[in-house]
C-alpha cells in the first residue's frame, strides 16, 4: 500500500494510505490522548480527547476520524486543544466516583492515567448520580461496577465487531436521560447468551468491567495467566489450540500440538491428574472442560501422526548420556536429549520401560499397549534402552565414558507406617510392591478369592491397590485420615471403587494392628473429627467411643513412597533418602550427574515427571554445550478467528461424561473400565471451550507514560 508523508507537531511521519492520524501518530511514537479508541476497534470519535488542528483548515478535527493526507500539517498540543480535552474529561468525570480508593484497577486504569495526563478533575461540573449502576451486577466471571463506567462503548464494539456476539448495547432508562451499557431487557449475562470470552473486560479503560477475583492467577505474567489451563499444566501444553483442532476433527494436528510438550499424549489422556481442569474458566459457569478426555480422544484418533513430519533430530554431537530409570521422567529426558543430537542410553532394572506406568498403575486404567507404543516412538528417535539392568553405582557410568548421567529412579519403596503391632505381624505389604507384582503378571498369594484385605491410604495409589484386590476376588475395606471431600484420589476413582465393592472408611485413624507373624486378626481404628500436622507431627482429634476393630487377613499400605537410594549408589543422599541438589536445579553435587522426577520431588504425577524430564534435558543439553532449547513447533498455527459468533445456549452446554463399563462386566476384569468419547461427544465437549487464548490477541493500550 502507498505511503503518505505528513507532519505531526512539526515531526515528519510516514504512514500507510488510509490510516487515521491518531493511529499514524501513535505508531510513530507521538502520543495523542484518546480513550474511546482502541487498536482492535473501529473508532467512533466519542471521547473528543484526540482532537487536533490541521493547518489551513477551520476548527478542530478528531484525529481518530481523520485520514492522513500527503503534506498535512497537524497540531496535537496547544491551549485550545488542551481546553477541549479537559472539558470533555470533566463531563466524563461528573458521573465517575471522585476518588479511586476502592477500585481494584487503580494504577492499571487508562482513565486514571488520562486524568493525570490531561489534568482534568472533578469540581466544576455538577455530579451525576447514576441510578442504573445496580442493574445486572450478579453474573459469573464478569464483575460489573458500573458506577465507574464512562460509556466509551469499547465493550459494546468488542462484543459486536470483534467477537460477533453482540449482546451488549446502550440502554436508556425510562424517566430520565440516563444511558448505560447493558443487555437487551437487562437480562443477566448468562440469559443474554454471553460467551464469556472476556473481550469486554480486556478493552474496558476503567474499573467498570473486571474479572472475578481468583479466576486468573497473579503468579504468572499476565498473558500467561489469561489462559489458566495452559498456565496450570506443568508442561504448559497449548490446550486451547488442540481443543479447537479436536472440534474441527483434526485429531492428528491436535496430537502434534500436545507432542510439542510431552511424548506421552495417550497415556496422559488416560491417567493425567489434569490440574488444567481445576482452573478452567468454564468451571465458574457450569463445569470445567473435560480436557483430559479430549486429549485421550485425539490420541486415540491420531491416524496421520503428522507430528513426525516436523519432529527434528539435531546433528550428532558426539556426547554420550546415560539415563538411569525408564519411567516417564527418564524416557522424556532421553527423548529430548536424543533430539538435541546426543547419544542416549537408558538403563532400566525391570524388564520393560515405563516405570510406574508399566509397573504401578493398573491395566484397567492404563492398558500396557499404550505405554509400549509410546515408548517405542521415543526409541524410534535413536534412544537406546537396556532393560533388566540395575545400575549399582552411578559413578561407574561416568567412568565408562558417559559425559552426563541423569538419575530418574523414581520412588520405588513403599513407606513404612508407624502403627503399634506392625512389627509383630507379617501379613502386610506395600501398594507399590503389590501393584508391581500384579502388573508384572505375578500374584500375591494373600490377595485371592474370599480374602479380606485392608488398604490404608486415600490417594490414587490406595485406590489402585483396593480396586485391584477387589478385581482379584478379595473383600476390600479402605481406611484413610481424610474426610471424603478432602481425599486425594480422583472422585471417579472413589466412586467406581465403591461400585466395585470397596468399603471406604474415611476420616479414621489407625490405632493398632492385631495379629501374629503368620496371621492377621484385624485393624483397631477410631473415627476422627479432623487432623492437622503440628510441631510434633500428625495430631488427630478422635471421636470419643468410636474405636472398633476391622477384621482382616492382609494389610496393604498405601501411605506414600520413598526412594530406595543407598549411599553406595554414589550420590550424596540426604537423611530422607533423596539426592542433595544444587539450588533450584537438577544438578546433584557431583559434576555431570543430574537427577529429576519423583526421586527428587517425592512421589508426584506422570505429568510432573515428564516436565521434570524436560527441564533436566534442557539443563543437561546446556551442560554438554547445547543451547538447551527443546521447544518445537509441530503444528503451524493458523491465525485465530476472533469472531466466535452468537450461539444460543452456548454458556449452558453441560459437560460430556465418559461412558463407563457396566459394573457386572468390570467388577472382576482388568480391561479398561471406561470408553473414550464418541466422535459426537468429543465435538460437543470441545465446543464448550471458552477459548481464553483469544483474549491474548487483543492489544494492550499503551498509556502516555510509555511514549
Amino acid at each position: 500500500m502507498a505511503k503518505v508523508e505528513f507532519f505531526v507537531d512539526g515531526v515528519k511521519v510516514e504512514a500507510e494510505e488510509g490510516t487515521s492520524v491518531l493511529r499514524a501518530a501513535l505508531d510513530a511514537g507521538i502520543y495523542i490522548p484518546h480513550i474511546c479508541s482502541h487498536p482492535d476497534l473501529e473508532s467512533r470519535g466519542g471521547c473528543k480527547l484526540c482532537v487536533i488542528q490541521i493547518e489551513g483548515e477551520e476548527g478542530t478535527h478528531l484525529s481518530c476520524r481523520t485520514t492522513v493526507k500527503p503534506g498535512m500539517k497537524v497540531t496535537t498540543k496547544n491551549d485550545r486543544l488542551d481546553q477541549i480535552r479537559r472539558v470533555s474529561m470533566e463531563f466524563m468525570l461528573a458521573g465517575h466516583p471522585h476518588d479511586c480508593t476502592t477500585c481494584k484497577m487503580y494504577l492499571k486504569c487508562e482513565f486514571q492515567a488520562m486524568i493525570q495526563y490531561v489534568g482534568a478533575f472533578a469540581g466544576r461540573m455538577r455530579d451525576v448520580v447514576k441510578t442504573t449502576t445496580h442493574i445486572n451486577v450478579n453474573n459469573p466471571l464478569i464483575v460489573r461496577e458500573m458506577e465507574r463506567c464512562i460509556v466509551c462503548g469499547r465493550c459494546i464494539r468488542a462484543c459486536k465487531d470483534v467477537r460477533g456476539v453482540g449482546i451488549l448495547q446502550l440502554n436508556k432508562k425510562d424517566g430520565n436521560y440516563e444511558v448505560y451499557v447493558g443487555t437487551k431487557d437487562d437480562k443477566p449475562l448468562v440469559d443474554a447468551e454471553c460467551a464469556f470470552c472476556g473481550a469486554c473486560v480486556e478493552v474496558c479503560p476503567t474499573g467498570a468491567l473486571q474479572d472475578q477475583a481468583g479466576v486468573f492467577s497473579s503468579n504468572y505474567p499476565r498473558k500467561q495467566a489469561l489462559v489458566p489451563c495452559e498456565a496450570e499444566c506443568p508442561a504448559h501444553i497449548d490446550i486451547p489450540e488442540y481443543i479447537r483442532l479436536v472440534k474441527e476433527g483434526k485429531n492428528s494436528e491436535a496430537v502434534a500440538v500436545i507432542r510439542e510438550k510431552v511424548p506421552y499424549p495417550h497415556a496422559l489422556g488416560l491417567v493425567c491428574v489434569h490440574t488444567c481442569e481445576s482452573k478452567c474458566k468454564r468451571s465458574y459457569l457450569n463445569s470445567a472442560l473435560s480436557i483430559r478426555n479430549l486429549k485421550r480422544y485425539a490420541a486415540e484418533h491420531d491416524d496421520k501422526q503428522i507430528w513426525k513430519e516436523k519432529s527434528k533430530i539435531k546433528p550428532a554431537t558426539g556426547k554420550k548420556v546415560a539415563v538411569v530409570g525408564a519411567g516417564p521422567t527418564g524416557m522424556t529426558a532421553a527423548f529430548y536429549l536424543a533430539k538435541q543430537g546426543h547419544d542416549v542410553t537408558v538403563y532400566e532394572r525391570n524388564h520393560k520401560a515405563g516405570g510406574y506406568m508399566q509397573y504401578g498403575i493398573p491395566k484397567y486404567r492404563l492398558p500396557r499397549e499404550v505405554v509400549d507404543s509410546e515408548n517405542q516412538m521415543i526409541l524410534d528417535h535413536g534412544v537406546k534402552l537396556v532393560t533388566d539392568s540395575e545400575i549399582k553405582n552411578v559413578q561407574d557410568l561416568k567412568s565408562v565414558g558417559y559425559d552426563a548421567v541423569l538419575v530418574a529412579v523414581g520412588t520405588q519403596a513403599g513407606k513404612d507406617a508407624v502403627i503399634p503391632g506392625l512389627d509383630g505381624c507379617g501379613m502386610h505389604t506395600t501398594a507399590v510392591e503389590f501393584l508391581r507384582k500384579i502388573s508384572n503378571g505375578e500374584s500375591d498369594p494373600n490377595v485371592k478369592e474370599g480374602a479380606k484385605v485392608i488398604v490404608l491410604g486415600g490417594g490414587n495409589v490406595a485406590f489402585d491397590a483396593a480396586r485391584t484386590s477387589a478385581k482379584l476376588g478379595a473383600k476390600v475395606s479402605l481406611f484413610c485420615l481424610e474426610a471424603r471431600s478432602q481425599m486425594l484420589a480422583d472422585d471417579e476413582e472413589i466412586e467406581q471403587a465403591q461400585e466395585e465393592g470397596v468399603e471406604v472408611h474415611d476420616g479414621t485413624t489407625n490405632l493398632e494392628i492385631i495379629g501374629s507373624p503368620t496371621k492377621l486378626e484385624g485393624l483397631r481404628y477410631a473415627k476422627i473429627n479432623g487432623f492437622k500436622f503440628g510441631p510434633k507431627g500428625l495430631e488427630v482429634d478422635k471421636v470419643e467411643g468410636s474405636e472398633a476393630v476391622e477384621k482382616g487377613d492382609y494389610i496393604i499400605f498405601a501411605m506414600g513412597q520413598k526412594t530406595d537410594l543407598q549411599d553406595s549408589f554414589g550420590l550424596e543422599i540426604n537423611r530422607f533418602g533423596y539426592p542433595v541438589m544444587q539450588d533450584v536445579s537438577h544438578k546433584t553435587t557431583t559434576d555431570g550427574i543430574f537427577a529429576a522426577g519423583d526421586c527428587i520431588t517425592g512421589t508426584k504425577s506422570v505429568i510432573l515427571g515428564i516436565e521434570g524430564g524436560r527441564e533436566a534435558a534442557t539443563e543437561i543439553d546446556k551442560y554438554l554445550g547445547g543451547d538447551g532449547d527443546i521447544d518445537e513447533v509441530l503444528y503451524d498455527r493458523e491465525p485465530l478467528n476472533p469472531n466466535i459468533g452468537y450461539r444460543e445456549g452456548f454458556n449452558r452446554i453441560p459437560r460430556e461424561e465418559l461412558q463407563v463399563e457396566s459394573i457386572d462386566k468390570r467388577a472382576r476384569s482388568f480391561t479398561p473400565v471406561d470408553f473414550g468419547f464418541t466422535p459426537e461427544q468429543s465435538g460437543c465437549e470441545a465446543e464448550r471451550c471458552l477459548q481464553c487464548d483469544l483474549r491474548c490477541d487483543l492489544h494492550k493500550v499503551k498509556m502516555w507514560t510509555e511514549y
Binding site: D82, Q83, R86, P97, H98, D99, C100, T101, T102, K104, M105, Y106, L107, K108, Q112, A113, I115, Q116, Y117, G119, A120, F121, A122, G123, R124, D127, V129, T131, T132, T133, H134, I135, N136, V137, N138, N139, E145, E147, K173, D186, K187, P188, D191, Y220, P221, R222, K223, Q224, M703, T705, E706
Partner: protein, 522 residues
C-alpha cells in the same frame, strides 16, 4: 535474563520514589553525571498520591503571601514532638520540616502550580499546599496526579528512567553486605538484573496486604478494619529489605474512619453520616465528642476502642430538613459535598436498590460482598425499637442516651453537653421519625513504617548501623507518625514522601562519592 546498570535504582515510582528519582538524577547531573532508574510495577507513576491533592510545608512563600505566618518551622517541630510524645525520630522530623518550604520551591521550579494553602478542618493548621488543577480555581480531588505527570516528564527530560510494569523482586548484596543491584521482572516474566551503587526502597508499605496487616497490626481486614486497599501496595520493599538484614520497625496504620459501602458512591448520604450528630456504640452509649469527627484519625482511634470496632451516628428527619434549609454543619473540599440536593435521589437509590437485576439480589454496595454478614451500613427506621432490632444497639441504653442527649439539646441543660463538651451549635435533638443511622468503622489510607532509618534515610540493620547503599523513603519508613497520624498538620503524608525521597536521593549520591562507599562488586 536481561542485564543493565545504573548508579541509583529506585524501587517503585509512587510519590516518594518519583521524588527520589528526580532528586537522584538532579544530584547525579550536578556531580558529573550518571543514571537513576526507577522500576514501577504498575503502568503509571505517582502511586497512591494520584488520589491526593496537597502537601505540607512550613514558612513557604505561599504561606507568607496568604499571611499564614503564625506557625513557623520551630513551632511545628515543638507541636509535632509534643503530639507524638517524642515517640518519633526527632532528627528525621526536624530535617523534614526544615526542608519542606524549599521543596515547594523545588516543585514550582519544575512547573508545578499551587492554588494556595489550606486547612483540613477547623482546628487544623494551614499547611496544605494545594496542587492547582489546570483550568480550575478550586481544590480538586486527584489534582496531585498532575504534579506527578509534570515530575514524570521532567525527570525523563533530565536523563532519569522509569521502567513501567516491572516490579523489583529482590535486592542483591555483595560480600560486605553492601547493596549491589536488584532483580526485576518485566511484563513477560523475564528477569532483569540491574547492577547499581545504591538502592532506594519506596514501595509504600503494606496497605493492600491483608495477611501482613493482620500479622503486624492484628486487624482482620473487612471485619474490623476497612482501610483503602490500593492495588499493588503489598509490602514488597519491606520484605526485600528485611531479607537482606534491615531492622523491622513498628508498622502502624494511618487511621481514619469510613462507612463501608457508601463513602465512594453515595456521597451525600455518607457526608450527612459524618456530621457531628449523636454517635453511640453497640451498648447504646456515647463515646466521643462528635465535634471532633472532622479529625478522622481521632474518630478512627475512638472507634478502635469500641465493641466490634464500630460506632453509629443517629439523626432524625428534623436534622435532614435543617440541613436542606441551612446547609451542612461540616463541609470539606476533599469530599466536595456542599448541599443536600442529591439526598432524596441517593436515599431512594440506596434503600430501594432501583433497577436490581431480575436475576437476584445484587451485591448492593461496593465492599459489602467482602463482609461475611452481608450487612449494610446505612439505614432508615420508623422507630427506635426497629432501629435497635436491626442494628443490634442496646435498646434500653439507647433510649436513655437519646433522652439524656435531647435534654442537653433542649431541656434544662439546654446547649450544654455536660458529658463531652460538644459545641452547642451541633446539639440537635433526635425526636422526629424517620430516623437515619450510619455505621462507621476504622479505615485508613495505608500503613506507616516498617524500616528503621537515619535522618539521611539510610536503612538500618538490627544494630542500628546503616546497610551500605540501602535507602528508604515514603510510607515504608514513616515511623515518624508514631501511634497517630497528625491531621493537625494536613498534607503530612505527601510532604514526608517527597522530602524523605529527596533526602534519600541526596544521601545516596553523596554516599557514592564518599569514603564510606563500598564497591558493589567487592
Amino acid at each position: 535474563m536481561k542485564h543493565m546498570e545504573a548508579d541509583v535504582v529506585v524501587v517503585a515510582c509512587g510519590m516518594s520514589g518519583l521524588a527520589a528519582l528526580t532528586q537522584a538524577q538532579e544530584s547525579l547531573n550536578a556531580t558529573g553525571g550518571g543514571t537513576a532508574v526507577a522500576f514501577e510495577k504498575s503502568g503509571t507513576s505517582g502511586g497512591a498520591a494520584n488520589m491526593g491533592m496537597a502537601l505540607l510545608a512550613f514558612e513557604s512563600q505561599l504561606q507568607k503571601e496568604q499571611m499564614y505566618n503564625d506557625f513557623t518551622k520551630d513551632d511545628a517541630f515543638r507541636f509535632f514532638m509534643e503530639y507524638v510524645h517524642w515517640r518519633s525520630n526527632a532528627r528525621v522530623v526536624r530535617k523534614w520540616f526544615n526542608m519542606s518550604s524549599d521543596t515547594i520551591q523545588w516543585l514550582q521550579d519544575k512547573g508545578v502550580e499551587f492554588l494556595g494553602v489550606f486547612k483540613y478542618f477547623k482546628n487544623s493548621h494551614a499547611t496544605q499546599h494545594m496542587v492547582k488543577a489546570p483550568g480550575s480555581n478550586k481544590p480538586s480531588e486527584r489534582s496531585a496526579s498532575y504534579m506527578n505527570k509534570r515530575l514524570t516528564e521532567y525527570v525523563q527530560e533530565i536523563g532519569g528512567k522509569i521502567i513501567f510494569n516491572t516490579p523489583v523482586k529482590e535486592i542483591l548484596t555483595g560480600s560486605k553486605g553492601q547493596v549491589r543491584g536488584v532483580i526485576a521482572v518485566d511484563e513477560n516474566g523475564e528477569e532483569i538484573e540491574c547492577l547499581c551503587n545504591a538502592v532506594i526502597v519506596a514501595t509504600g508499605g503494606i496497605g493492600n496486604n491483608v495477611d501482613m496487616i493482620e500479622k503486624y497490626m492484628g486487624w482482620k481486614w473487612g471485619v474490623d478494619m476497612f482501610t483503602f486497599r490500593i492495588p499493588g501496595i503489598d509490602g514488597d520493599g519491606l520484605n526485600m529489605a528485611w531479607n537482606i538484614g534491615a531492622r523491622k520497625a513498628k508498622i502502624n496504620m494511618e487511621v481514619t474512619y469510613n462507612t463501608p459501602g457508601t463513602t465512594d458512591i453515595f456521597k451525600t448520604l455518607s457526608e450527612v453520616g459524618r456530621q457531628p450528630n449523636l454517635m453511640v456504640n453497640l451498648k447504646g452509649q456515647r463515646f466521643i465528642n462528635e465535634e471532633i469527627m472532622d479529625n478522622t484519625t481521632f474518630t478512627g482511634n475512638s472507634l478502635l476502642l469500641q465493641k466490634e470496632h464500630c460506632g453509629f451516628t443517629i439523626w432524625d428527619q428534623n436534622i435532614v430538613d435543617y440541613y436542606k434549609e441551612h446547609g451542612l454543619d461540616y463541609i470539606t473540599y476533599h469530599h466536595g459535598i456542599t448541599h443536600m440536593d442529591k439526598w432524596d435521589e441517593e436515599l431512594d437509590a440506596y434503600l430501594n436498590h432501583k433497577g436490581i437485576a431480575a436475576s437476584g439480589l445484587s451485591m448492593l454496595h461496593e465492599g459489602m460482598d467482602d463482609q461475611a454478614s452481608g450487612q449494610t451500613n446505612f439505614w432508615k427506621f420508623d422507630s427506635i425499637d426497629e432501629l435497635c432490632q436491626v442494628t443490634g444497639i442496646n435498646e434500653k441504653n439507647l433510649k436513655a442516651t437519646i433522652a439524656e442527649y435531647n435534654e442537653m439539646c433542649n431541656g434544662n441543660m439546654r446547649g450544654y453537653d455536660w458529658q463531652f463538651l460538644k459545641d452547642h451549635r451541633f446539639l440537635k435533638p433526635i425526636t422526629k421519625a424517620p430516623f437515619y443511622v450510619a455505621r462507621h468503622f476504622p479505615g485508613g489510607y495505608g500503613s506507616l513504617g516498617g524500616l528503621e532509618v537515619t535522618d539521611n534515610m539510610e536503612v538500618c540493620d538490627d544494630n542500628f548501623d546503616p546497610i551500605p547503599g540501602l535507602y528508604g523513603c515514603g510510607n515504608d519508613t514513616a515511623t515518624v507518625f508514631a501511634d497517630s497520624y497528625c491531621f493537625y498538620n494536613p498534607g503530612s503524608t505527601m510532604s514526608y514522601a517527597i522530602n524523605s525521597g529527596r533526602i534519600a536521593a541526596m544521601s545516596a549520591v553523596a554516599y557514592m562519592d564518599s569514603d564510606e562507599f563500598i564497591d558493589p562488586e567487592e
